[in-house]
């Protein structure tokens, strides 16, 4: 089953096209990474998928429905935003942040099941001992893990992460992409991740989509990560090579003609 269908999506900021004619399909259970340079429109694409932004042309379907027709199925989408700058003064507990992922509507309060799910989600990101701590007193990496737990707590069918590795402490970072692979297995979740970490992600993903305002290519990592595509994404001279267990990208110098 197709979990996500993006069809001929165009998006403009003012008159400037940020995304041009993007079409992409994601099958159930796939782990797909979106790569591209800064300003390529990756975050914009995620916001369109999530229904936060509306494209001027084209259509998005999630679970075979338009986003506005999703209803309760909305809760089956987990989202980890990029660089959430917390309101530093807000005394909100870690547990409250995670329970946000189980929101069902006005006056529908969390029950016993939800508390169990909360505990499980915090265990997955190794933060269960900090449920009663205040979110704004955590380190950047710990906060990021809590936000991942918030996205996981509803056992989502589609998990969307926008550069989740930003700010993760090195000890957790290493295992993070393995964690993604594990989540996918345990919950049979479809995962869509925007990342800069080509090295780590190429070891676990099924597919890679290269976006630079338009969809340059998409397919299996070994098909996609060719010199030609990488040049298009990261400039002339970029190359992809493997040595040891993980492949690397070398970003070349930009040539100005």
């Amino acid at each position: 089953m197709k979990v996500l269908e993006i069809r001929n999506v165009w998006f403009y900021y003012e008159d400037e096209p940020v995304l041009k004619d993007i079409s992409l399909e994601v099958e159930e259970g796939e782990l797909i990474a979106i790569l591209g340079p800064n300003g390529a429109g990756k975050t914009t694409l995620l916001k369109i998928i999530l229904g936060i932004l509306k494209p001027q042309q084209g259509e998005i379907k999630i679970f075979r429905k338009k986003i506005e027709e999703l209803g309760d199925e909305r809760r089956k989408i987990g989202y980890v935003p990029q660089n959430l700058v917390p309101n530093r003064k807000m005394p909100i507990k870690v547990s409250s942040v995670v329970l946000m992922g189980l929101y069902r509507g006005i006056l529908k309060f969390p029950g016993e099941e939800d508390r169990k799910a909360l505990k499980e989600a915090l265990e997955i990101v190794e933060m269960d001992h900090m449920a009663d701590r205040q979110f704004n007193q955590l380190s950047g990496g710990q906060r990021q893990r809590v936000l991942i737990a918030r996205a996981l707590v509803s056992k989502p069918k589609l998990l969307i992460l926008d550069e989740p590795e930003t700010g993760l402490d090195p000890s957790f970072h290493e295992g993070f992409f393995n964690l993604l692979a594990r989540i996918r297995k345990v919950f049979s979740t479809t995962v869509l991740i925007v990342t800069h970490d080509v090295t780590a992600v190429s070891a676990v993903v099924d597919k890679i989509a290269c976006v630079n305002r338009e969809l340059i290519t998409h397919g299996r990592p070994e098909e996609v990560l060719t010199g030609e595509n990488l040049e298009c994404l990261y400039g002339k001279g970029a190359a992809f090579f493997g040595h040891g267990p993980a492949p690397h990208i070398v970003v070349g110098k930009h040539h100005h003609d």
Partner: protein, 260 residues
Amino acid sequence: MPFMQRALLAGAMVGVSAALVGSFVVIRRMTFIGAGIAHSSFAGVVIGLLVGINPIIAAMGFAIFVGLSIGFFAKNYRIEEESAVGVFFPFSMALGILLLGFIKGYSPNIMGYLFGDILLVGKTEVSLSLVAFILTLLFFSILFREMVFSAFDEETSRVIGIRVELVYYLFLFLTAFVIVVSIKIVGIILFSGLLVIPPLIALMFAKDMKGYVIFSGIIGLLSAVFGLVLSYYLNLPSGATIIAFSFLLLLIAAAFKRRK
């Protein structure tokens, strides 16, 4: 009911309501909006005096209009909330001053509206305070989580299906309502103290959002009641005494909770 009892009753309800609303005004960094809406009600008061309707009712209409306009401009144009306030605040004061010239004869009450005067608190004000109090309690019992979530992470709140805009406009409406009801007790100019000081005290001690909001409400209640009692016995202006008293509480709290 003697005037002091009326004032205490209205003051207590308004003190709690303002502090509860203020707890989110502070968290969402909307302090200037509070001050702006309060000042904009000045034009409403003058319009009321001019055309002969209850100034508080006129002020309420005007303040709600300004509150929602600020929200509208901030959400739909490339204008920051505080810039929108920076426009409506002086415009409403200017409009009030201009219209004041058209009121024939002396208007003795105007100072009471600016700085609060418990002698102005009548039956209508007590009833309006009760309405504000009930509306505030209802709002927070129903939409507390929605307020917390959208203050914490607006984008994800949208994704999980919270109608962020609706909650925001309802909150602005409630804020404007509470402000206007408070005018006769603390006054247009002094109101933001009642809105901001209790939450700031609560914020120093709160461990979670629920505790923060409840504690803020308690401080608001204490400030209003003790401020009014002091003003009665010491024969001082009510609004100024309430604000001075809550400022004193803030100083004491700050001394207890000295931070780096």
